[in-house]
Symmetry: C2
């Protein structure tokens, strides 16, 4: 998968198919709310499994029942690349 940074237009196009995700500070981010803390941690572990398979890892923050997933591509100069939109799609498929 390409390490090239996506253009603003390419990111907007990708986001149109990624409800709930936002683009800011060269990252794609989305926050989920779960019934409780352990469900949020289980979700984080699921995202981690997807990340390991891709060798591309999201930053994960759990605050009680909330999980924030944040992705950027260090290999693309800390910009958003196709690796991020691919991982975001997989995470949305996992977490709804």
């Amino acid at each position: 998968m390409s390490d090239q940074p996506l253009t603003e237009g390419e990111i907007d196009l990708a986001l149109s198919d990624l409800p709930g995700w936002s683009h800011a500070n060269d990252r794609l981010e989305r926050t989920w709310t779960f019934p409780g803390h352990l469900q949020a941690l289980a979700a984080a572990t699921g995202v981690g499994l997807l990340s390991e398979r891709r060798d591309h890892h999201a930053d994960l923050t759990v605050n009680y029942d909330k999980l924030r997933v944040s992705v950027t591509s260090h290999s693309a100069g800390d910009k958003v690349s196709a690796k991020d939109t691919d991982l975001a799609r997989a995470v949305s498929d996992l977490l709804g």
Copy 2:
């Protein structure tokens, strides 16, 4: 367990028995580094189990192989209380 904010002296005394933890911005924080991403997520889940038993939850951040644990007491006006030093001790017992 008391919801009263600890004094600066009480926090310093507690920290003397909590190697690696630091006190800043009315929080106790410590970061661990693990062999990989999934180990960091397993550790986060372990901290979550300790938190659930206490009904007192740490904020958890996983960046690849690193887990940051950050605690404060909303019930003590977002200050450090005995609930935080108790959870920090339990987390150190779990993660080393």
